[in-house]
Amino acid sequence: MSFPTAEPFPRIRDLIDPKRWAERLIDKLEMHARSFALLSRTQTFVNGNNNNIDLDGLMLVRITGPTATFTITGIARGVQGQVMMIHNSTSQIMTIAHLSVSSGAANQIVCPDATDFTTTAFPSSHLLYYDNNQWQVMGCPCASGAAANVTGVLMMHAQGNAGTAVATATPFMPLASTATGVATLGPTQIRIPRTITIVNLYVRLRVALAGGGTMTIAVNNGSTVGTGSTTGAPAVTISSGGSTGNSNGNAYLVLEDAFLAFEASFTGGTTTATVQNIAFSYTATDD
């Protein structure tokens, strides 16, 4: 390590000399230790797995070499308390493998959430430290500079040119394309793989609603297959003669692993409808 605080140990002529030396050393540390340089080097990695990499005690490693995706499975010669910054200067996806057996046990790396850590931006830098006979990755695999929330869309469209026919007895539809509504909830539910907040639900009918009553399409939210409820969930009500509507942006939280479907209900003289598409926007937050 380069550390510009050298203060030669003095020849001790009296008891005051060590004290003065210590004071000078403290002054220099206060002045220079605010900024110091890590021992660094550019290191060539290879495509695919990089096992038991020997980085020779470096504290800052600038990675070059890969022309395709590459993975770090382990780093050799870690020392308790050692800190290392790795910088992916390539334009390739880099993965730090969680406890990969491709490297020796003492060289393996523990990643956040016990999940392989993959770079999400180029270039990117990541901090590791060595503790308890393993390397540890600090932080989460978030894309640098990305927003905390992102907005996505979910589109469900009628399967076939006739639209999706729903009726009082067959009100359930999945969040994916379908030909007709079905009578039971279970065969339409989709397990949602992440927590989201539904922002706005839109419905478009193939033909204007008839029958003099209303139709409501709502999100059905359940915790198990075969059960669910529309209570409090986004819903769109369309009156007879109408063909489009939206839920006006009432935010609705859907937890990871919930089971979602769309459910139609009818009032008045309306008992059927032909759906063109259903869509909603949602925001997704950090994992």
Binding site: I93, H98, A114, T115, D116, T118, T119, T120, A121, C142, A143, A146, A147, V150, T151, G152, V153, L154, M155, M156, H157, A158, Q159, G160, N161, G163, P174, L175, A176, S177, T178, G186, P187, T188, Q189, I190, R191, I192, P193, I196, V199, N200, Y202, V203, R204, R206, V225, G226, T244, N246, D257, F259, Q276, N277, A279, S281, A284, T285, D286, D287
Partner: protein, 262 residues
């Protein structure tokens, strides 16, 4: 952060698109991965459950037809399952180096699973622009044939759903922002005829993607990395395809595109 996609996978569907919301057999050419993405979780739901001795497997496949990763299996009495392994990177669809790219998903079954269709969803993070949601339009089950009339294709699904009545194919978009960029793929290129493909917004061309007479037969995709257009919640979108002159046969059109909210 990230996004999710949901899809219906019909019984008997083997190879199918990753981004389309409906999947049937024989459309592995559609809706490829448009940029590098990180898939963090995949779920399967089926009702009824596959049954004793039966299972449904879902995996991602690359351009060369090899497995990218086997992610999840739904078996026996279970009605739902979620991948428990770590995240997997799906490299962008790549015609130049086929083995590097990801093109489609594959379903394999053991025994005779009971449900007529299963549903799957993925949690994914785009690695190029983490704020950009990805989605797709079109599949391989319905072809455009010789015509001198505009034909229209619906958003996110096309099976048995290509006609000259645009209103029947327009889908309402639920969020305000920017649509694009786009990657188009088609399954046949006319050697002398002319094909025009346009992305439509509210019944007008928002972006004319492709107009190609006499292309080489091997030209089957085009990327428009800088093309975008604005969209407002409530706008209607769809595809328009016009083929004129001497055409060589039926063709399928697919588009995968991004969306960034305002």
């Amino acid at each position: 952060m990230g996004f999710f996609r949901a899809k219906r996978v019909a019984a008997g569907a083997t190879d199918f698109p990753i981004w389309a919301s409906r999947s049937v057999a024989g459309n592995s050419n559609a809706n490829f991965v448009p940029e590098n993405v990180l898939v963090k979780k995949l779920t399967i739901t089926a009702s009824p459950a596959p049954g004793v001795g039966n299972s449904n497997d879902l995996e991602f496949r690359n351009n060369a037809g090899a497995t990218v990763s086997v992610l999840v299996t739904l078996a026996g009495a279970a009605t739902s399952v979620s991948s428990s392994a770590g995240a997997v990177v799906l490299p962008i669809y790549d015609l130049t180096t086929p083995a590097n790219g990801t093109r489609y998903m594959r379903q394999t079954t053991t025994g005779a699973p009971t449900a007529t269709a299963i549903f799957s969803a993925i949690d994914y993070l785009p690695l190029v622009n983490s704020n950009r949601c990805l989605t797709g339009i079109g599949d391989s089950t319905q072809a455009f044939t010789t015509t001198t009339t505009n034909k229209f294709q619906s958003f996110d699904n096309a099976g048995a759903d290509i006609t000259t009545t645009e209103a029947n194919h327009q889908c309402v978009w639920p969020s305000t922002g920017t649509v694009g960029p786009f990657i188009f793929r088609w399954t046949l290129t006319d050697t002398t005829g002319t094909t025009e493909i346009a992305f439509r917004k509210n019944g007008a061309d928002a972006f004319t993607a492709i107009s190609f007479p006499g292309q080489a037969a091997t030209t089957v995709m085009a990327s428009f990395s800088s093309a975008t257009f604005s969209i407002t919640a409530g706008d209607l979108i769809n595809l328009r395809i016009l083929r004129t002159g001497s055409v060589d046969g039926s063709m399928n059109v697919h588009c995968t595109f991004g969306f960034t909210a305002a």
